[in-house]
């Protein structure tokens, strides 16, 4: 039981990751895949931030009367990772727009069907 209370945060993060991951690999719509990717990455951020938390700690900003801080390093890493995430999303979306212009669809199965017709 102590394991449950000690780890539930991580387990939920893993559940969320897997929901996102499923959307990436199972969906045929190119935008939906990117949404899944977003959720996948955001949930990984939760994993990092959870590990930085200290019981009874507070935000890592020096203030009067605060002695216990949560670990600032995961926060820094995730700030970087969020930026990377939005960069990836914007490039992916730009590709989706171009694919739509070139093929008229953003559904994977229709794209594959067009491919086999032209060959």
């Amino acid at each position: 039981m102590s394991d449950f209370w000690g780890l539930y945060n991580y387990w939920i993060a893993i559940f969320l990751m897997m929901v996102g991951f499923y959307n990436v690999i199972a969906r045929g719509n190119l935008i939906k895949k990117l949404i899944g990717l977003n959720i996948f990455q955001t949930s990984v951020f939760l994993l990092y931030i959870s590990m930085g938390k200290v019981e009874g700690g507070s935000a890592p900003i020096v203030g009067a009367g605060i002695s216990s801080f949560s670990n600032p390093l995961p926060h820094v890493l995730i700030l970087t990772a969020i930026v990377v995430g939005v960069a990836t999303t914007s490039v992916g979306l730009a590709l989706v727009v171009r694919i739509k212009e070139a093929y008229g669809t953003i559904e994977e199965d229709e794209l594959i069907a067009q491919e086999s017709v032209t060959q």
């Binding site: 996948f40 994993l47 990772a81 990377v84 590709l95 171009r98 093929y103």
Partner: protein
Amino acid sequence: MNSHLPIVPIILPMVAAPLCMLLRRRTFVWGLATAVTWVVFAACAQLLLQVSTSGPIIYTMGGWNAPIGIEYRIDLVNAYILLLVSAIAALVMIYAPQSAARELPPDRHNLFCAAFLLCLTGLLGITITGDAFNVYVFLEISSLASYAIISVGRDPRSLKAAYNYLIMGTIGATFILIAIGLMYMMTGTLNMADLAQRLKEVHDTRTIHVAFAFLSVGLTLKLALFPMHVWLPNAYTYAPSLVTAFVAATSTKVSIYVFLRFVFTIFGADYAFTTIHLNAILVPLALVGIFIASTVAIYQTDLKRLLAYSSIAQIGYIMLGIGMGTVTGLTAGIAHIFNHALIKCALFMVVGCIVLRLDSSRLEDMAGIGRRMPATSFAFVLGGLALIGVPFTVGFISKWYLLLGALERDWWPVAALVLLSSLLAAVYIWRFVEVAYFRPAPDDATPISAPPLSMQIPLWLLLAATLFFGVQTDLTAGIAQRAALWLLAGGP
């Protein structure tokens, strides 16, 4: 100034990229980019020289000692990869302007050059750093830039290829991010040398096993080991030829380097091969990959695609060598990273020359090309021979070490399979030879002028290198062996 040499290869292209974007005149753009890549190449050569004579170099960022800050840690292994990547970039940059004039949208050369330089920054940054999270950041720079430069191919299918690469690549990178997170969680550090120290204490925890698994899966996605290779053939086929020549020779190689670094330096050969039994997974996958990819290559109708499948097979050879876990096997793997990069870059450059003149990379359009473009076709044959592993080419050196490594471990079947697979390579190279030399050119064929010198010179330089290093083995195999010993000893 010499003490600041390590940052030159990273900062220079990073600063040059925005300048490239702002320049509008095409000649200035290419001139700047080319000059930068050559300076970077010189810096990397100097670094390799320094490392091989006086041992590893450590450069601390902002003067903060690791693990508090980030540091560069350059040893023989990454100096070797740095040299490889920068050399390929420098040669591709000479080759590029003419090929780009044909294959790129005319008004985007400045953006393309900026993206290209960023890709180079990313690749070099991954290689040089001594910090695990920093690897992730620069991995994303190089990946995003390569999605961009792949997607500008003329065929709209390059867009789909880039999209698929983006999805697969991001999944791979996120897996790596998870693995780094788990490792950080158990040790409290991100510095590679520090990680190596502290991981020893937690080697038997389930968290670290999972971290190792995620890292391996993420990296195999990036380095396109069978069966994680599905993004590769389309990306290589539809990208502009110069991009294919660059990406094929560097991007997967850098991922292999990261794999080596994590497996041998951070986790340690002992952990990877006795606790996890990495060889039991790697060797079969590599062998199956070699055979399937080579066989698929034989049936391709597009020369670029054929070479792309051949790349997957060649990555199989490299991973086979690494999977042996011995000095000889590792030497074969590391040497083949270099050798395959040379050969593949040359071969894709040949295809670029053919595309420049024929406007097609389909084999059926190349009938009789042996007489219409004699020098170019001959270059392909030379590169093909090196790919097969004929003596006096670099391909032979790596195959030789691979065989030695297999025999050392008494893996007779593996040795036999490696030999057999060379036959498959011979078959797919023959496909080009047959079309080029034994089929008549179409009747309406007009005479074709030879490709411009700026494209031929780097191509022939690369081919000369494949022959030179096939005879003079000190630089490639010699350094590879020293690097292998260094890695197996677990670094410093």
